[in-house]
Symmetry: C2
Subunit: 349 residues, 2 copies
DNA sequence: ATTAGCACTCATTAAATACGAGTGCTAATC
DNA sequence: GATTAGCACTCGTATTTAATGAGTGCTAAT
């Protein structure tokens, strides 16, 4: 059965009210509700509510209580009922101060977002197939070589390599040329045994040293490929006692501190990304166990080169979806612009 | 008035019992306590307890309850009563896997410690006056220079520098020589206007570019000097409901997430470091507000070069001091050894 | 189709009661 | 004089009971 116009209005009123107060909302409250032009007695509302409950949009926590939305109710609200907050062009310019390092920028995004919304937030660095742009080997002291690897997107990784053979500057220069010849433009997958073999033959007497250097470099590239996640405002979760008892909440917090679970979540979301880039997971829909009592909203931002990163918000089901969605939209736009402008935000180690 | 032997025994029994159970301990419990050779009736214990209370070592939460230790009681316990756990040479070797990067090592220390003790932990990187060991400038692409700065202790910092003048490899080489000549061995404080002026005169036509490069390098050194703090197990705090209500606890958690407050704490402790390197702050003794309901135990570890770092544990006053102190002692010893062995743990960005 | 009215449910709160762990004190005992 | 048995007393916690009131479902009137 489809919802008629009046039922929609009532459902919307119920949810709006519940989001605001957190209390189950009763028929009398709705009948006095002025925001919509409904003027019906509580009895009528009660009948409609009974229908809505039968259809699964709302439930009563107990017999003599008002109604609260079900996951289905929230879903309908998010999809069809909630009109997004019009962007009042709030001083969004002041949201982010200029920062030149990717890492700091993203940390700040997480922080600002957590601060503005009072929910827990997470931000991932953009993910893409990273290729080597430049390698620089330098001799730091007698037995340490420093390898600096710059990969696409100006992410820089360093690796100290211990060598036990004395090398002079000539040698290092040779290595530099050799490494750059072979590795420039290569991605992690390109570096295979054959390539290593080829380089070894070319390096002649230095082959054994090359071994060490190589493994160091591979490590570093591997490192650069790792999905970094920045979180903030985890403690905001404690502000919503409806998320169950402390033990549940603290488990959730641990997940948040650990981050490894989060990457799972993030990957899930990137797979499902649709046109708008905004996704809402309500309760059971969440791809991660332990978050069934929460809602998660994620957004995808893009770098000009096509790399994508994710911004996510975790909060109670009773979340200000309107605000969250519009905030996320603005933020991704802002990020897109930042990346467009400064075409190479640096990631200095 | 001094505590006689019997009072000491009783106090120790009370505290030991309270640490274990978390419940106020009554006279009957102590009279039945078998660990000590006390065999006294509860009435006698009651009299002694009244004395101990008068002297301020214990209190009753309410009239008809047993006694719990006061801060003074804990202090006496830690200073004089508690004999430290004998190191049973538990498989401490397995505590830390080998990691080559300082940052990862310290993160792991925090994690392992939190995991072993079930308290919140924090670890700072060793702090010392960092001097430049080596600088390498490389041309990454047309308008980006990469500055790699290695400071004492093999901490590596990178900085992308945007230049708008076309530079060839010759030029970069010149810069490298110039920078290293002046900056090797210099600390942040050494780099002053005079030095900059001198370098500018030497760099001739390139003076304006040098400006940019310089500010980048100063940034990086500054960065290297920042006191980094790694935390773990913050959520463990939630396991101790005696730390007051959620709102208090969550404030504490926020402090922990923020870390800036923690550095204050850490600095306090390094100032007071005594011979053993272990310090215990009980309740009111804590140098940071908001932690008055907790106890904090810190330990100092040393690198061969003399640099010192701090490991700290935050938990309820009812903390297993014995275990914590001995764990920290072992850990600092282990860390000292690791640093001694691999004389240059790397800090790759 | 809407609404007024009423009986009913049930979470929440407050008050009343019981329980028991533990104390302090006194008088008897070693 | 130190120790202990015994007992009255305190007070936090748990349990019971009753009162309150928000909100419902249903029925009959509009």
């Amino acid at each position: 059965m489809e919802l008629d116009e009046r039922k929609k209005k009532i459902l919307k009123a119920i949810i709006a009210n519940y989001l605001e107060t957190g209390e189950p909302v009763g028929s009398r409250t709705i009948s006095k509700y002025t925001d919509t032009d409904l003027s019906l007695s509580s009895a009528t509302i009660r009948n409609e509510m009974a229908d809505l409950e039968e259809m699964g949009y709302i439930v009563q926590p107990h017999t003599s209580a008002g109604r609260i939305p079900t996951d289905k109710g929230y879903r309908f609200y998010v999809d069809s009922l909630m009109e997004e907050k019009v962007d009042v062009e709030e001083e969004k310019s002041s949201l982010l101060e200029r920062v030149d390092r990717m890492e700091l920028l993203l940390k700040q995004v997480a922080k600002v977002l957590a601060c503005n919304t009072n929910y827990a937030t997470m931000v991932t660095a953009p993910k893409y197939r990273k290729t080597v742009k430049f390698i620089q080997l330098s001799k730091v002291d007698a037995d340490n070589l420093l390898a600096v690897i710059v990969v696409d997107g100006n992410i820089i990784k360093n690796k100290m390599i211990v060598v036990n053979t004395e090398l002079d500057n000539e040698d290092v220069l040779k290595f530099n040329i050799l490494l750059n010849t072979f590795l420039q433009g290569a991605s992690l997958e390109d570096i295979n045994l054959e390539m290593i073999q080829m380089m070894k033959t070319q390096s002649g007497e230095y082959a054994p040293i090359l071994e060490d250097i190589f493994s160091g470099i591979v490590d570093a590239i591997h490192d650069a490929n790792e999905l970094e996640i920045y979180t903030s405002g985890a403690t905001n979760i404690l502000k919503y006692p409806e998320l169950g008892d402390i033990s549940k909440t603290s488990e959730l917090l641990e997940k948040f501190e650990d981050k490894s679970e989060l990457s799972h979540l993030i990957e899930e979301t990137t797979n499902k990304a649709d046109g708008t880039g905004i996704q809402v997971y309500i309760g059971e829909e969440a791809p991660v166990q332990d978050m069934k009592d929460c809602s998660i909203v994620t957004a995808t931002y893009k770098m000009p080169e096509g790399a994508e990163g994710t911004i996510g918000i975790l909060g109670p089901k009773r979340m200000d979806y309107k605000k969250v969605v519009s905030t996320l939209k603005n933020l991704t736009i802002e990020l897109d612009e930042i990346f467009k402008k400064s075409k190479g935000v640096n990631n200095d180690g």
